[in-house]
Symmetry: C2
Amino acid sequence: MTKMTPQVRCQGRSNCFACGLRHEMVCSDVSLDDLIDFHAGIEDFDYEHGSAIYHMGAPMEAVYCVRGGAVKMVRYDPAGEQRIVRVLKTGDVAGIESAFAEKFEHTAIAVGRVRACRIPISYFRKFVSDHGGLQMRLLRKSQEALREAETWLSQLMGGTTPARTRMARLFLRLRAVEGGDKIHRFSLEDIAAIIGITPETASRVISDFVRQGILVKGGNSYATRFFRGDIPALEKIAQEV
Amino acid sequence: MTKMTPQVRCQGRSNCFACGLRHEMVCSDVSLDDLIDFHAGIEDFDYEHGSAIYHMGAPMEAVYCVRGGAVKMVRYDPAGEQRIVRVLKTGDVAGIESAFAEKFEHTAIAVGRVRACRIPISYFRKFVSDHGGLQMRLLRKSQEALREAETWLSQLMGGTTPARTRMARLFLRLRAVEGGDKIHRFSLEDIAAIIGITPETASRVISDFVRQGILVKGGNSYATRFFRGDIPALEKIAQEV
DNA sequence: CGTGTACTTGAGTGGGCTCAAGCAGGGTGG
DNA sequence: CCACCCTGCTTGAGCCCACTCAAGTACACG
């Protein structure tokens, strides 16, 4: 079978070489041919706002590389309440936490419009076991995720820290691109599920930020909406008692 | 060089083969001789209550296998407040999160009397890179830790869930041995730093549990004290709104 | 046996929750 | 293209849990 360029394999719709996974996979001992083979089974999908990419407890059958938008990773506490434990952004890979488990550990839901590449788990596992150096890279990636989760724990949670401060910290973490001022605009319900408050309180704080000009609403549909944030002001609030 | 039995290498003070790491390392493709070599650099330490095993930001020079007692993993939020992000118990390994980083990610502090084996990081890294199958096992271990951290997030945190409920959930997780009724007894300050409340509130809830006979205080020094818990009662409270 | 730290307990306050009503604006169907 | 509708957001009033401040107690350790 004739090899095509990876771009074509990806149906010309995207450049797989811009993918976060590719960053992990090239280097080490992966040849270009291997990479092209790997890309053979990959498909490119659009997810509209609110649709699930996969569900907690469902059989683990693929990982997904997020190419645009934001994805919330949801868990449920013993009382059945929804809790958002992490947020993925462009370049992150959804599902690697569960890569060697039977079922997905979370439900992954699109926030706004999302594009993602679906990589069947059989391809993924085979590729990883064929290339020893990759395991090391995955290990690093997994440890990054752990660090991120712990950062959420220590910065976003905690009854002692006022909701206002934690919200500022959250918005700083929800920036679409590191260092930019564009902020993923989640629903009040989502924000509540992240930092552990009620939607009403979230609304009051945001209204306050908007009145002070610290946040400016943008976008004209749930799929594309966002905030512009006054980053220095948010950073100041984030450090308050 | 003559090989000695691992027990002797460990100065006869402990059986390295009961270690949580060993569980990861044996199986796969590690020979007994390799294991004995590996154990050559290991030392066995006692830590008294409150002493630090290592500090956040310090150069990463070893991992520690916890052989007895409990260890709190501490971080600091932007306001300088102490937050406990995870608790290690017998069989867990402290420092693997940072195994491929320059510095430690947390401060690790003994709660009660702790025994731990110190494994120099150079040994550890060499051993891992020599044995391909180990990376896979470490990856799994790392993903376990991630799951644990996210469980804390979703179960112990959250302003909506009453402190009483979260405390019950915490005590269930702090059992010394899975399924037992012996519970690691942390200071009020520590408990406060874990679930994000004040020590006063923690005191009130515990006093209440003790009055109801759900918890019974045991041990006669900070180094050895513990609770006995009425597990069914705690489980019932843990599921309340 | 003394000293200090950790814990207990109380009274008062306040931030965030609850319940409830009104509003806006995006999506849908006529 | 317009009007409706429904979801998500806003805003208010009152209450309650957990925080704060403060004092007193117990007990671990030297």
